[in-house]
Amino acid sequence: MHLTLSKLPYCLLLALAACSGGGGSSDLTIGPGPVPEFSCLPNSGPVPLTVQFTDESELTPTAWEWDFDNDGVVDSTEQHPTHTYTTLGSFAVRLIVRNASGSNAVLRQQAITAEAGVALGDPLPGLTEAERASFDRGRELFRKRFTPSEGLGPLYNATSCESCHSEPVLGGGADLYRNFYMGAFYGSTPLTNLPSVVVPAFGGTSTEQAHSLTRGRYTIPDFPGLITTAQRNSIPLFGVGLFEFVSNATILANTDPEDANADGVSGRVNNDGAGMGRFGLKSQSNNIELFTRAPLMNQMGITSNPLRGSAGTVSLEVGMSPQASSSPNSPTFDNDGVPDPEIAPQDIADLIAFTRFLAPPQARAFGAAAQRGNAQFTSIGCATCHIPELPSSRGPVRAYTDLLIHDMGDDLADHMALGRPQITLSGPDHTGREFRTQPLWGVSKSHPYLHDGRAETIDEAIRMHGGEGLGARQRYEALEAQQRADLLTFLEAL
């Protein structure tokens, strides 16, 4: 007797776009002898991909023949072998099992998907030659350490982009010691709707300009009336370029500024005056150009001209340029004696390309614990704001964010009014308690956590959620220890 059955996937089905090929159909022969069955973990991932195959055959097989790529050659005769896939593609796996009664075979189509190995810090796959060249130039510039004679300062926090974006690799975040301060100008209480600025820690090297950020701002002649109010821990840049391709309509669809559904979670869009916000801890920037030129100026004192609308416009590859937004900014200038702009338009374009084309973190395949954690993530309400996937014109963006700003309560409030949020009927223009839902892809590699790095671990970070996040946090705290562990396992796999 020879039956061909189409069975449900054996291999663990993962809620991951990257694993959509996992667990294809199977052809199974059933005659005298054992009934073949196996599982494979993981069933997808970047090359080199090492897969553990587990024999689950019934009726006591005594011999196994594995063909990991269905090329007709037996690759292993072990019962539970491992195999490392080094070439890209989707692979069918054949297992023949034998005992004294006979033998049977199973052929599972598309059992394993080995993908391009995109490591943290790598560029997006599929760039054109020109894009890749610009990315590579941008990566070098990102590491360039500016000196005062090249325009560093007169006030600065850092000498290179790498200073604050290097952990665990170039383009990432930074440890606590790279924190910087933001300030607001004194004058009214509460500090809402006040202009806020990055506070530079250093100014030149003269004895009069050595700044301290604690025990009072002794000497900031440039900022009379400024008080420091918030620290910032730098954020990783992996994958952020994809946010440019999430449409305004998609972002708007998730807003609920008046909490119409009464779930305690509202969420509104921010705006930088020229376009809907996507970048920064408060979604205060609409495009990567501003997200690049602003820290160059605010953190390093490097002046630049806007690319669009300026002489010597640098055009980016059609289709890769951000969504239409008018140039929200003007040339920056300083008084350090170095002629402005201190960086060339092509260099700005290359720095933008580096940020834009940094590939997103790749999630690991979810084991059983991570799958349980994934379910908890949704059931306790994390996914209400940390929306796993947003559609974009470049495919799904699995960043676990809605790109909206949410009121996170008084304990997290930093009183910094950035951007121009969507006006609501019930609330003030800006509360200073709102933060963008931080993307969670690669979260295990971006410690410390929260806007100022106050949380050392993911667990601590969850327990510090307040305001609109309070409900989800309380449900997290009410979970069994094992359930919390599963949730953390899930987050660490992202």
């Binding site: 350490r145 000196t147 005062p148 004679s149 560093l152 600065y156 926090n157 850092a158 000498t159 290179s160 200073s163 440890d175 606590l176 010691y177 924190n179 301060y181 500090l191 820690a201 250093f202 090297t205 004895t207 009069e208 300009q209 050595a210 700044h211 301290s212 950020l213 604690t214 025990r215 009072g216 701002r217 002794y218 000497t219 008080i227 420091t228 109010t229 918030a230 620290q231 008084d410 304990d411 409030a413 930093d414 009183h415 410390p448 100022d452 790095g453 106050r454 050392e456 510090m464």
Partner: protein, 364 residues
């Protein structure tokens, strides 16, 4: 990562003495290196609650673990000198000011302005730590032998050792921009306190801090941990000469002496296990311009700095105590005070000779 570290240690093993390889394989060295690289946070006692860095590596990282730091890793000192017209005085809280305070949990960051405002500041670059174990083998009398407290030889160059009163005994300082530290173990205590806000056990040498105001029980680090950090520092390999065969390097080396650089940047000092080629006399000199304002300490007045060792200098830009010099040429040109005559002799060199001197320095 593991394999590249292993490769690095293999290369180091091949490049240096066998004994060095043995040090780097020592579990104490391995533990000390991990501690040096470890980022501390609230739960481990980071902050007093103030701090400059959350790890040793936060300041000592260029070009690799144990090295120096970029300009933005400077730390600040403060005091008062009445606009430069009065004597330097310390203000409450000492000279060290921290860049950060641990983020508050609840409530916004606010810092009270102290009643008496400082009016003079000084930035300090993190010094590279390579070879400091060898410097510890240089005994006090070796250092004081080069003193010239009255400029008896009339060359314009003085030179005084930093004397530290340690429980009634005078010790000679070896480390720090003002030679304020005698032993690497003292440095560990001092840096943990001043830069990380970590309390350390009382080991009888009154360095570091015993208590702070965070919620972590004091001391926040054990003597055994200090043992490991100290062992790591002691074992950090000294910078190796580049070994260039460019004939200009030898010309530059001769110029280094004939111009007068070597008067203070002594090519080597005798250590207990042989000569230590550090290019320093470990004495304090004033090479700052007239009118310089900065910190004063007992035994090290305003403008007095230890001759910085020059070994490995190619990897430690920017230069001078606050990083004011971007390049070696700038650093040389900024020497004045006791070094004025030497600087003039350097300036008078031909472009070719200056280039040779530079190549020599970059080979150290």
């Amino acid at each position: 990562m593991r394999s590249s570290l292993h490769l690095l240690s293999l290369l180091a093993f091949a490049a240096t003495a066998v004994a060095q390889g043995a040090v780097e394989d020592d579990p104490r060295f391995v533990r000390g290196r991990a501690l040096f690289d470890r980022a501390f946070h609230r739960a481990q006692g980071l902050g007093s609650p103030d701090y400059n860095g959350d790890s040793c590596r936060a300041c000592h990282q260029d070009p690799r673990l144990g090295g120096s730091g970029a300009l933005e890793l400077n730390v600040s000192r403060f005091g008062r000198d009445s606009g430069g017209s009065g004597p330097f005085t310390n203000l409450a809280g000492g000279q060290t000011s921290s860049k950060f305070r641990l983020p508050q949990v609840g409530g916004r960051e606010e810092y009270p302005v102290p009643p008496s405002h400082p009016d003079v500041f000084e930035q300090r670059q993190p010094p590279a730590l390579f070879g400091i174990g060898l410097i510890e083998t240089i005994q006090g009398p070796t250092i004081t032998a080069n003193e010239d407290t009255t400029d008896a030889n009339g060359d314009g160059i003085f030179g005084v050792a930093r004397r530290i009163n340690m429980n009634g005994t005078i010790e000679i300082g070896r480390y720090g921009w003002k030679a304020q530290i005698a032993l690497t173990r003292d440095f560990v205590h001092d840096a943990l306190a001043e830069e990380l806000g970590i309390t350390t056990p009382d080991e009888g040498r009154h360095l570091g801090i015993r208590t702070d105001v965070d919620a972590v029980a004091d001391p926040e680090i054990a003597s055994s941990t200090i043992d490991d950090l100290d062992f790591f520092l002691q074992g950090l390999p000294a910078p190796q000469r580049g070994g260039s065969t460019d004939p200009r390097v030898a010309i530059g080396e001769a110029l280094f002496t004939s111009v007068g650089c070597a008067k203070c940047h002594k090519p080597s000092l005798q250590g207990q296990n042989g000569p230590v080629p550090l290019y320093s006399n470990l004495l304090l000199h004033n090479v700052m311009p007239r009118g310089f304002r900065g910190m004063a300490e007992p035994g090290a007045g305003v403008g007095l700095y230890r001759t910085p060792p020059l070994w490995g200098i190619k990897d430690t830009a920017p230069y001078l105590h606050d990083g004011r010099a971007e390049t070696l040429e700038q650093a040389i040109a900024m020497h004045s005070g006791e070094a004025s005559a030497v600087t003039s002799a350097y300036v008078a060199l031909s472009a070719q000779d200056k280039q040779s001197l530079l190549l020599f320095l970059k080979d150290l």
